[in-house]
């Protein structure tokens, strides 16, 4: 037997592990409790989403798209639907744009609430998960009454949205949006100043702005490092240029800043929801929500990049079409794929407990990574 190296130990975290947010395997090389090297191994949730698109119509692929990132179903759906609409050069009705914005911001709040609960569960606090899920359940009930499903909504279609929002559901969303800031304040009072939480998240996993640019990190992770870049402000899509909201930016780039950025993003999303509801509740005349295209007539040609600012960062759907009824190639550029690459760089030389604090704060979701 060769000489046994007694100082360095290589352990395997995952793929079945309560804190890896899905099935991710991390090969961690430890010296005592200090991390020397992390190698993520992905692919446990690879479903062949991109290959599936080549054997299906555009309309047959539409329900599958929600599952690219199941926590942000509306964002993935929008990226795909917008790509086809750009290729076919059609403009959707204004009410459909408002409904799409409203549902996407609700989805952003839901995704951040789940992130919040699970992040604190990773750190050992068992109560905030339940508090965050109370609000999430309210939104899920509203969306279930609207679209018929709690998670994979299948609500957008080429030319608009499938169903109109009835007034009583709009009123329920309004009640939720009026009550939500007090819930966010409750989370902040419970968590933000907790000395155990701050000592575990401050100064861990510091991500510099230059590193974030090199690794193509977008979304809240980038905004917590000091760069005020948000697709909704830089090149507005839908009706974001008509809305009044801010982009939360923090300077340091550690896990605590990422937490504060996401909490503030939830508040801004709430503001956007209230503004959309204003328009939807007051304007009674404009009722067209769907251009009612014939799905079999969708045979676009060309190549398109359609982007959306999803809850985790910049998501792009790149469609390459050759005029037939099936797409030639669909490529999904998902933000968690690049955040997962980042782990070795920012979690080196931390202790093992810090790995979970850093990994949880990056908000990585495995279906996005593996597609």
């Amino acid at each position: 037997m060769n000489s046994v190296n007694t100082n360095i130990m290589e352990i395997n975290i995952g793929p079945q592990h309560p804190s890896t947010h899905g099935v991710l395997r991390l090969k961690v090389t430890l010296e005592g409790e200090k991390i020397l090297n992390i190698e993520p191994v992905i692919g446990y949730l690879h479903r062949g989403m991109e290959k599936m698109a080549e054997n299906r119509n555009y309309i047959q692929y539409l329900p599958v798209v929600d599952r690219i990132d199941y926590l942000s179903g509306f964002f993935c759906s929008y990226a795909y639907v917008n790509a086809v609409e750009l290729l076919m050069n059609i403009e959707i009705p204004i009410k459909a744009k408002y409904i799409r914005t409203l549902t996407m911001e609700m989805n952003r709040i839901m995704s951040h609430l789940l992130w919040l609960g699970c992040y604190l569960l990773d750190l050992g606090a068992t109560s905030p998960l339940f508090y965050a899920f109370i609000e999430r359940e309210k939104l899920m009930d509203i969306l279930e009454d609207l679209t018929g499903a709690r998670m994979m909504y299948n609500y957008y279609t080429f030319g608009g949205v499938k169903k109109d929002i009835p007034v009583d559901i709009l009123k329920r969303i309004y009640d939720f949006a009026k009550h939500f800031p007090s819930s966010v304040k409750e989370y902040e009072d419970l968590i933000s100043d907790n000395p155990i939480f701050t000592s575990r998240t401050m100064k861990t996993g510091i991500l510099a702005k230059e590193t974030a640019e090199q690794f193509s990190i977008t979304g809240a992770n980038l905004r917590a490092s000091g760069a005020a870049k948000d697709l909704r402000k830089d090149s507005p899509y839908l009706i974001y240029n008509l809305l009044d909201f801010n982009i939360p930016v923090k300077q340091t780039g550690d896990s605590y800043c990422r937490y504060i950025t996401r909490i503030n993003e939830m508040k801004e999303s709430n503001k956007i929801i209230l503004q959309c509801l204003d328009r939807l509740l007051t304007d009674e005349n404009d009722n067209e929500i769907n251009l009612k295209l014939n799905p079999l007539s969708i045979k676009p040609e060309g190549e398109v990049i359609s982007e959306v600012e999803s809850s985790r960062g910049l998501m792009q759907c790149i469609i390459s079409a050759d005029g037939s009824s099936n797409p030639l190639r669909i490529k999904w550029r998902t933000p968690s794929f690049y955040a997962a690459q980042l782990l070795n760089t920012i979690a080196k030389n931390h202790l093992l407990p810090d790995l979970m604090a850093v990994f949880g704060s990056l908000d990585i979701i495995m279906p996005e990574v593996d597609r």
């Binding site: 690879h46 760069a227 990049i305 550029r333 690049y338």
Partner: protein
């Protein structure tokens, strides 16, 4: 706007991607030079590589690099065509760090080899997988996956 790019490098073709993104076809040996130029030159500053993806048009592969510039808020696409058998090209992971996993994924799903890549191995599929699924002529020949056959 891309005049000096066209002067310096040999652009085979130029067209437009929807919505308003210029796409340049260059030859495979120029890729590293073009990307370096676009990243560093002050009139472009394409500081972020959004993604790299490959396409299988029946006769050849086409790899596209989508670049984004934060300063000027515009994008550009650089494409190369590679032949079907023995498709090899230079890796750009020295220029943009996030190209590392993108190129591994293209190797995994298409079989294109990247020279000078730090760690080229399969990423999404198991290491023992045979074949490259996203090719158009891929037939599922792995015995272990036979449940899907009619």
């Amino acid at each position: 706007m891309f005049e000096d790019l066209k002067e310096k490098f040999d652009i085979i073709k130029e067209d437009i991607m929807v919505p308003d993104i210029k796409r340049f076809y260059v030859s495979a040996k120029n890729i590293t030079g073009v990307l370096n130029f676009l990243k560093l030159s002050p009139s472009y500053f394409f500081n972020r590589l959004d993604c790299i993806y490959a396409k299988d048009i029946k006769t050849e592969f086409e790899i596209t690099y989508i670049l984004h510039s934060d300063n000027y808020q515009n994008k550009a696409a650089i494409c190369t065509k590679l032949e079907y058998d023995n498709a090899r090209t230079e890796s750009v992971s020295g220029i943009y760090k996030n190209a590392n996993w993108d190129e591994r994924e293209i190797y995994d799903l298409f079989g294109i080899t990247f020279i000078n890549h730090p760690d080229l191995k399969r990423i999404l599929l198991p290491d023992s997988f045979k074949g490259h699924p996203l090719r158009k002529n891929y037939k599922m020949e792995d015995e272990r996956l036979r449940w899907n056959y009619e």
